[in-house]
């Protein structure tokens, strides 16, 4: 589904953010990307739907090359759902309109179709009653659930999550993770940048550990948590699992 091969990205010759990153996500797979801050994990996931450009290497999603200038990026992105750390709901639009905008403007659905789909997804994330409110009237956890629903409204073939719970108060993390776990169990292909190791243990198929722009470890979940091969991954795990 997602093929990342030998991706390099730099801002200047001396400032390399991604170094020779190669990995893949197959259909139905849930891959968790973790690593210390500044390790390039967010950058890597943003390269997948070309929100960040990269200088060399190839990324393809469902057979379409992301870095090909001929690729219709809006069309490709409409099939790749993305959830951001800071939700990024559109504050001037009501919740339901947040869900409908791209359905109507990108997929060309009618207003009725879009609203029906939107309400169905709001119900699924438990926020049907909030449809007529504005984003600022919702809690962080609710906003992130809306953001997930907004991405799902496009019927994506894969979902990217960029630290979806990092900006949340602790008591709201689980309501978002619950939605994500359900999604994973339904067979959605997911690439998730997160520090939530509980989530990784529960639903991930594979864990990728990144440090200083490199993929240091790319292993099945059992291997990663059982016996990480690299020192850096061991150190990282011991730091975040000690509490």
């Amino acid at each position: 589904m997602i093929e990342i091969s030998h991706v390099n990205k730099w801002y200047s010759p001396t400032f390399q953010v991604l170094t020779d990153c190669t990995t893949s996500v197959t259909k139905g797979e849930v891959v968790v990307v973790c690593g210390p801050s500044g390790s390039g994990k967010s950058t890597l996931i943003k390269c997948v739907n070309a929100l960040e450009p990269f200088q060399s290497g190839d990324i393809s999603v469902d057979g379409t090359k992301v870095n090909d200038p001929k690729t219709n990026l809006p069309k490709l992105r409409s099939r790749v759902g993305m959830v951001f750390q800071h939700f990024e709901l559109f504050p001037h639009l009501k919740i339901i309109d947040n869900l409908c905008l791209a359905q109507q403007k990108v997929l060309g659905r009618s207003s009725d179709q879009a609203v029906a789909k939107g309400m169905q997804l709001l119900e699924r994330v438990g926020l049907k009653e909030q449809a007529q409110k504005f984003p600022a009237q919702l809690s962080g956890g609710q906003q992130q659930r809306v953001a997930i629903a907004r991405a799902l409204a496009m019927d994506p073939i894969v979902m990217l999550f960029d630290e979806p719970t990092s900006a949340l108060d602790p008591e709201m993390v689980s309501e978002v993770l619950d939605v994500m776990v359900d999604l994973a169990h339904e067979g959605m292909t997911m690439m998730v940048v997160t520090h939530e190791m509980g989530f990784a243990r529960k639903v991930a198929n594979r864990v990728i550990f990144m440090d200083r722009g490199e993929i240091v470890e790319d292993a099945p979940k059992e291997d990663f948590f059982g016996q990480p091969r690299s020192d850096r991954a061991q150190k990282f795990l011991s730091k975040i699992l000690s509490h």
Binding site: L73, P74, K75, R77, F84, H86, E88, F90, L101, F134
Partner: protein
């Protein structure tokens, strides 16, 4: 102290002042603000676009317009455009451009420079995550601007935009250099015809002051309301 003054002259001149003068002033203000906003937004988008050349062109335009006194631009434009028109179309005589059209175009060009800076600040006030989220949903650049970025930028900047329009409302009085009958022009004509300079200019000042004051008060109310919504 007012014993020598004849305020009746104002009342007799009211229909002329408002039907002719104020109508022109408000029409010019409204159309110039609208045109300035449209072109100003376009210039702001040029400056913020990734294309260096577009940005430079817009930047030079804005700096150029802001470095000239408005009165000069009005004056020059009125006298130059007929010749430029002649040169462009190859006509044998200078092309006649009406005073209204000439002043309207001047004000739109001039205000576009100011509105563009306001819109630029407004667009930059939107966090980068917003266009990223819109792009991630598959919206094109134009759709992202139209449905996500500009509505928010416009809303954030509305008080400043209206304040600039109040300034524009006052600035339209500068068309007197073209002997156009705007509100001040009308007052001035009556004043000189009847020899009642003090009364008419006093009245004109009161009218400009009142309208601007009410509009400013409206802006403050609006600001308070927007602050609650956000």
């Amino acid at each position: 102290m007012f014993s020598n003054f004849d305020f009746g002259v104002i009342i007799r001149a009211l229909p002329y002042l408002f039907y002719e003068g104020m109508t022109f002033t408000l029409l010019l203000t409204g159309l110039a603000a609208l045109g300035g906003l449209v072109f100003g937004t376009a210039i702001a988008l040029m400056r913020l676009s990734g294309y260096k050349i577009l940005g430079r062109i817009a930047g030079v335009y804005v700096d150029f317009m802001r470095s000239l006194p408005l009165v000069l631009v009005i004056f020059w434009f009125y006298f130059l455009v007929p010749y430029i028109g002649q040169w462009v179309t190859g006509a044998s005589r200078p092309i006649s451009v009406g005073a209204f059209a000439s002043s309207l175009i001047t004000f739109i060009m001039f205000e576009a420079a100011y509105f563009s800076e306001i819109m630029r600040a407004g667009i930059q006030s939107i966090s980068r995550g917003q266009p990223a989220a819109a792009n991630a949903l598959g919206l094109t650049y134009a759709q992202t601007m139209r449905y996500v970025v500009l509505p928010q930028a416009f809303r954030n900047m509305l008080p400043v935009l209206i304040t600039q329009t109040i300034v524009l409302f006052q600035d339209t009085s500068l068309v007197y250099v073209l002997s156009i009958t705007d509100f001040l022009g009308a007052a001035s004509k009556v004043a000189q015809r009847d020899g009642r300079l003090v009364e008419m200019y006093l009245f004109a000042a009161i009218v400009y002051f009142t309208i601007s004051c009410i509009a400013s008060f409206g802006v403050r109310r609006l600001q308070a309301r927007i602050a609650i919504i956000r």
